[in-house]
């Protein structure tokens, strides 16, 4: 174990722990733009620089391991001034569009600029906007709002294993792109959206049917994805009784990862084709009915069949897409009421 001092607090951590994590262990949050616990530290944004006594330079806390006896200041005037200056540099290259930006309120850059007192005025916004890349069906890419933190590139490479996007060009011209640069849809992208999930600004945004901002969100509901059997945990973001976005949950077994279906495949919920009323076939066509009528009809017919033909005349298909509780109740009805074990489902398919 290593002992050090951070902002006057004694900290003890294992060897190899970064200053960032050491600080976190005593509830000192150092701001970052490019850091993600799941990724190898990159040290790109430099916002997390801290003052280490005895060192001329500010040390990037995400990549600098804590060492015995270090005395660290995470919010000294020198640190704050450097952060402000770095943020100003980023901001200067960023469209001054917070008023109309959907990310406003959830944007890490905006939050940090606020925290460190970066003034919008005096820095000219970009005059010529690069057109939005809307080629992918599920998300957009706004090159001008990209701050090159590289999280998307690293998530795609290190976690998703696709390496569909890369840095191209050099220096100030550096940007995120992909081979041939024809638009995201023409890359090897599998649209998992795990890059969109980690983007600190509005560079990568999910396409949404309607505009909303963070303060429009009524609630976020933690649930389990309804597609494959991995059981990814996710948050449904709800506005006006509609899912407007899906966020991957970090604390599920999926650790913040989803696939294209889990992340973007929610709009069936509000689809106009949804069944909304019980339907009874009459003369070859369906007509709408009340629950009472439909349920009475079904209960009546079932009783009739049971009385005439007995248990063996019944069968039920349970569902691999319904809940445990739904399935339990169905088998209970078949077994308990109709005294048959003729229940099965498409587990085999």
């Amino acid at each position: 174990m290593i002992k050090l001092t951070i902002d006057g607090i004694g900290v003890e951590v294992e060897k190899g722990t970064s200053i960032l994590d050491a600080a976190k262990s005593v509830a000192i949050n150092i701001p970052t733009l490019c850091h993600d616990d799941r990724l190898k530290p990159s040290g790109a944004c430099r916002i997390c620089g801290v003052e280490v006594e005895g060192s001329d330079e500010l040390q990037a806390s995400c990549t600098t391991p804590a060492r015995e006896g270090m005395v660290i200041h995470t919010r000294s005037d020198r640190v704050a001034a450097a952060r402000k200056q770095l943020l100003e540099l980023i901001w200067e290259d960023h469209p001054n569009e917070c008023l109309s930006c959907q990310k406003a309120g959830e944007c890490t850059l905006q939050d940090l600029c606020y925290d460190y007192g970066v003034e919008a005025e005096g820095f000219a916004p970009l005059k010529v906007r690069t057109p939005l890349d809307t080629s992918n069906p599920f998300y957009t890419f706004d090159k001008d709002k990209c701050i090159l933190c590289g999280k998307c590139v690293r998530v795609c490479e290190e976690l998703q294993g696709e390496s569909a996007i890369h840095f191209v060009q050099r220096g100030h011209e550096t940007m995120i792109s992909h081979p041939f640069e024809k638009g995201m849809a023409f890359s090897t992208c599998v649209s998992c959206g795990n890059c969109v999930q980690v983007c600190p600004t509005a560079a990568l945004m999910p396409k949404t049917e309607e505009k909303f901002r963070v303060w429009d969100i009524e609630k976020k509901v933690r649930t389990t994805c309804s597609y494959c059997g991995v059981g990814c945990q996710l948050d449904l973001v709800i506005k006006d009784n509609k899912v407007v976005r899906v966020d991957a949950a970090r604390d599920g077994e999926n650790e913040g990862m989803l696939c294209v279906k889990g992340k973007f495949g929610y709009s069936f919920l509000n689809h106009k084709d949804r069944l909304t009323m019980p339907l009874i076939r009459e003369g070859g066509v369906f007509r709408e009915a009340s629950w009472d009528e439909a349920l009475d009809l079904v209960a009546g017919r079932m009783t009739e069949v049971y009385d005439h033909s007995g248990s063996d005349a019944f069968a039920a298909f349970a569902s691999a897409r319904c809940t445990n509780e739904d399935n339990y109740v169905l088998q209970k009805m078949m077994r308990g009421i109709f005294k048959t074990n003729n229940i099965d489902h498409c587990a085999r398919l």
Partner: protein, 527 residues
Amino acid sequence: MTNSIREVIHNEVIFVIGSNTTENHPVIGAMMRQAVKNGAKLIVADPRRIPLARDADIYLPIQPGTNVALLNGMIKTILEEKLYDEEFIRERTVDFNRMAEALKDCSVAKSAALCQVSEEDIRRAARLYASSHKSGIYYAMGITQHSRGTEGVYNIANLAMMTGNVGVEFAGVNPLRGQSNVQGSCDLGGLPDVYPGYQKVADEKAKARFEASWGVQGLSREPGLTLPKMVDKALEGKIKMIYIMGENPMVSDPDLTHFEAALDNLDFLVVQDIFMTETAQKADVVLPAAAFAEKDGTFTNTERRIQRIRKALDPPGEAKADWWIINELMKRMGYQNAFANPEEIMAEIAGVTPIYGGIDYERIDSKGLQWPVKDKSHPGTPYLHRDRFTRGLGQFMPVTYTESAETADEAYPLILTTGRLLYHYHTRSMTGRIPGLNEVVGESYVEICPKTAALYGLENGEWVTVRSRRGEIKIKVKITEDIKEDVVFIPFHFADAAVNRLTNVALDPIADIPELKVAAVRIEKLA
């Protein structure tokens, strides 16, 4: 899965057979790639060059229907080269020698010939798999949907047991379940021979337990019919009424022509679903169900983790949760002990289902638990068979190769195999209604290799008829290098060009699983 999802990234060897993991279980597929980046070795066996094949250290493009032969080749290599774990075999298993004896006439060379891969590759795969005690096997329907699917599963267990790769962390025998709650629907009695918790219906004690809990008498000890058998009985007129909850067998089941006739022969069909599916269109009564985001409950995932789903939205119109609908029916048929909410149902489940014994909504509120969870203080079970197998000693089950029920011949010279795509889910009743997904893949296709395409004079995008002994469909050609010669692949999601008009209903004798992965077909150019 015997083991847990997060263990994947700690595997030293990953053996993927009959699973297109990155497309069908994308997050687990991504973890496999993370493991490979961490230095894990990857073996992939699949007739198609699935995306994971490019990450593989050893890729075995086996002929459809030869899983057992491949596994036998690997087992034989391990026997011949004495790569097995003697201590594990001695302490934890029985009948190892019987298995070895049964494979007396097998040879790796024969396996190689059947699988159409090189003997050395099979040996390399076997050596690699046996080289670690952190070797995990991952499989899916590519193993089970065969007329000898159960034998494939036995053989996977044989391979794992002989190398000591089961009952320990970071290894295991890991079937990847395809649907959100396929594990839970099996766990909770959605099968004809077992009550919830895999308690045999034939077992008198189980019967008594459920009778007591439910307050009913005369539960049947006769195992019920499996789904394919139900279809036969319906055709015979013995089954008169079918109740279908949230399934669309009119697309997903094999030999649809046969199935459709069975539904038409029923007196009464009730379907409850969220959309007017192909199956619902056949119903006498269709009941509108709430979707997953519109109700409370639990799903059990592929690693046996019971997790909450929560109501986030009001269902559209009059749609109701499935449990509520059935609960109402039961009330109308005179059942008194109705449920007020899903939490109550889970309380009853916990009372009668030992593996769910410790589950309640409060405990799984922030993080689900993996069964068995025997009681309220049990922490759940990240991996199964620790120290001892559920049945005691691990049973080696000798398996010899039997060819698929249908093989290529002059009339039907190509082998058809089926599967899922990343961008769609099951019968597309959900994903078919999401514009983006259909922008990426909007219609079905038949994958065919350039050489076979050239043989039939086919061009990319051309419409053809694919015909089997059971039916025909019209479909577009997609030429790809990623499939073996003389093998074609059609995704099963699409109701137009429903591949299950072609598939074979030949059943595995033990599990009644149809042989969806192998059917003989021919391709005809449109006139």
